[in-house]
């Protein structure tokens, strides 16, 4: 009996000690979480005020009614604006925008990948110099750079002149979808290069040598080793180019013709010219949801291949 009693006592003591520790730990954890929240508070507040709140307002307006005079009335909540998105006019604009954004992303990817690989395999000095060159366009205004393209691509601009000189005749690129894609590729290329560079730079180039040693050709090495290992960069770069291309406004306005209305321009028209805020809001909201889902799916898929 005495032995059993001693054992019981021992257990009680153990429990006492064990109970005190998590209590203390929890308090410490809470303090840590509190400090973390305080540090993040300015950013949280900013996002809630200027991102989340407008988002809710846009969502609310998309269900509102437009009266005869073009003013928006916040009553008679309905789905009429969403129904309008099924119109063939809107549908054409959506598909055209998707197609041009996709094309822009693909061209950016194909052009940027070799450059990013070249960059990632240079000496640190060369890398830094070349990275600065990639950034230099950002130093001048986006609008100005787009107007520069207008000059370049104009019917009697330098591109056209060169084309004439080598016997291809005058070009008619400006105010076509081609001009828009050229402008978008130009504008968003750095957003593709940087994540690709970051991803490739992290790959052990010894793996490339191992692949070549194991009878893979240069192409097979790219396909089986480099590309899968740089997938995070490919995904991040594609999202960073695709999303702003899909909603682009400035470039299509300046370089695109009247026939190539894209989503960004259409939304602006709804708000400013047609004075149909609910439709503009509905389209903005749908666009956002589509991008959100595309991003989630893309990340999920990317996460599995790694």
């Amino acid at each position: 009996m005495t032995v059993a009693e001693t054992a019981d006592t021992a257990i009680v003591i153990d429990e006492g000690v064990a109970a005190a520790t998590p209590e203390f730990e929890r308090a410490a954890e809470r303090a840590k979480a509190r400090r973390g929240f305080l540090i993040a508070l300015p950013a949280y507040a900013y996002l809630v005020l200027f991102f989340a709140t407008p988002l809710v307002i846009v969502a609310v307006y998309s269900f509102a009614t437009r009266n005869r005079f073009g003013a928006t009335e916040l009553r008679d909540w309905n789905l009429e604006s969403y129904r309008r998105l099924g119109d063939s006019l809107v549908r054409d604009i959506v598909f055209r925008s998707l197609w041009l954004a996709l094309l822009t992303t693909l061209i950016c990817l194909v052009v940027s990948y070799p450059f990013a690989y070249f960059l990632a395999t240079r000496s640190p000095l060369v890398r830094n110099v070349m990275l600065v060159f990639v950034m230099i366009p950002f130093w001048s205004n986006f609008l100005v750079r787009n107007f520069a393209w207008r000059v370049l691509l104009g019917n009697d601009g330098p591109v056209s002149r060169v084309s004439e000189l080598i016997g291809f005749g005058e070009t008619r690129i400006l105010f076509t979808p081609t001009a828009v894609v050229l402008g978008l590729v130009y504008g968003f290329m750095p957003f593709m290069i940087l994540p690709l560079y970051a991803a490739i730079e992290r790959i052990d180039l010894g793996l490339v040598e191992a692949s070549r040693d194991l009878y893979a050709s240069g192409w097979q090495t790219f396909r089986r080793v480099l590309l899968p290992l740089s997938m995070p960069g490919v995904i991040a770069g594609s999202i960073l180019v695709f999303v702003p291309s899909l909603g682009a406004y400035v470039t299509p306005e300046i370089l695109g013709g009247a026939k190539t209305t894209l989503l960004g321009s259409y939304i602006v028209t709804q708000f400013l010219t047609a004075r149909n805020w609910p439709v503009g809001a509905a389209l903005s909201f749908v666009l956002m949801i589509v991008m959100l889902f595309a991003t989630i799916i893309y990340f999920r898929k990317g996460g599995r291949t790694l």
């Binding site: 052990d204 010894g206 893979a216």
Partner: protein, 360 residues
């Protein structure tokens, strides 16, 4: 069919092989033939050009000059995927995005071996390195020793004509390294594949190799079996790099005598011209230490004082101060070994057959 009297085609032939990086000569006009089925080690300190030489054989570097043949075929400018060799890399270079099975299958798949056939051979290769159960794991889930074996399996599954190993055991701890040395050696004997093994560890090279090539500053200094490398080094560097060595400076006095730096004369036949500056190579285990005595019983000897005594368990190392330098002498720790203390005046003596001489 080869003519019976013709020398067999070497597995690897290097002739005047040179590699320059800008102004730096990494490998200088190497002449070397490695036989079929040989375990050959390239040994030298880091930066001596041994890895560059291996990479040239693999096709990961292209030679600046000279010829490189594998079983008689000139391969100097062929890309790595067109050469019948495979490499075990120093850091293993396993593909992190593929599981173990796909890592090992990589080379076979690239050569167009069918999925079924490849799977069977991968299974065999994994069995060979005793990691048959690991197929579905990722490289990061394996220990260093296991990764090492996978790297070996990934190379050997392709049945290369020559296997290149770039310091493959460098990252392993001592016990595992010794175990792997044994495994590598027996695997090589079983498969009969030519191994070219790069290492800076002289003990590793001595243990495993049929022949060793010692490199220094881009030059191949000596190519010989381990015994010859140890017993008859061709120069000071090789003597000093392989094993522990005391180098006693001296001059050739006549055909049978060398005059050491302190004026002591020791009998040694060298065949070198009189007046040549030489170093006598005295290995620590080849000399013995006795309390100071006048009669050396026909052995060569120098007098000195014990500076320190280091107990190593299986042996005792005496550091002995001579008049002009310090030398180490190792005595085996036998029950009858009489231990001497620091400060004791002693005579270091050796049989004249126990030393060799190199020109300075």
């Amino acid at each position: 069919m080869n003519d019976e009297h013709a020398p067999p085609t070497p597995a690897v032939g290097l002739h005047g092989l040179t590699k320059r990086f800008g102004d730096v000569v990494a490998v200088r006009a190497i002449e070397l033939e490695i036989g079929d089925g040989e375990f050959f080690s390239l040994l030298g300190p880091s930066g001596c050009g041994k890895t560059t030489t291996l990479r040239m054989i693999a096709g990961l570097e292209f030679p600046t000059e000279g010829s490189l043949t594998i079983f008689g075929q000139e391969v100097g400018t062929l890309p790595p995927n067109k050469r019948p060799v495979n490499t075990v890399f120093q850091n293993y270079a396993l593909f992190p995005h593929l599981d173990i099975h796909d890592n090992v299958a990589f080379g076979l798949r690239m050569q167009g071996v069918g999925k079924k056939d490849a799977s069977r051979r991968v299974g065999e290769a994994l069995e060979m390195v005793r990691l048959g159960e690991m197929g579905t794991r990722r490289p990061s889930q394996l220990s260093g020793g296991q990764q090492q074996r996978i790297a070996l399996a990934r190379a050997l599954v392709n049945r290369p004509k020559v296997l290149l190993l770039d310091e493959p055991l460098g990252a392993l701890d001592l016990k595992l390294r010794q175990e792997m040395q044994g495994e590598l050696k027996s695997l090589q004997r079983e498969l009969g594949i030519t191994f070219v093994f790069v290492t800076h560890d002289q003990e590793e090279a001595l243990t495993m190799s049929d022949r060793i090539g010692v490199m220094h500053d881009g030059d191949l200094l000596q190519v010989d079996p381990p015994e010859s490398i140890y017993e008859h080094p061709v120069n000071r560097f090789v003597a000093d790099f392989i094993g522990q060595t005391n180098l006693l400076e001296g001059t050739v006095e006549d055909a049978d005598t060398i005059c050491l730096a302190n004026g002591a004369r020791i009998p040694l036949t060298t065949g070198l011209p009189v007046g040549t500056s030489v170093a006598v190579i005295l290995r620590p285990e080849r000399a013995s230490v006795t309390p100071r005595a006048d009669d050396a019983h026909g052995r060569s000897s120098v007098d000195g004082v014990i500076r320190s005594v280091t107990y190593l368990g299986n042996s005792i190392v005496y550091q002995i101060g001579l008049d002009w330098m310090k030398i180490d002498v190792r005595e085996e720790n036998r029950p009858d070994t009489h231990r001497l203390d620091a400060g004791a005046e002693v005579t270091v003596s050796w049989d004249h057959r126990a030393v060799s001489v190199v020109e300075n």
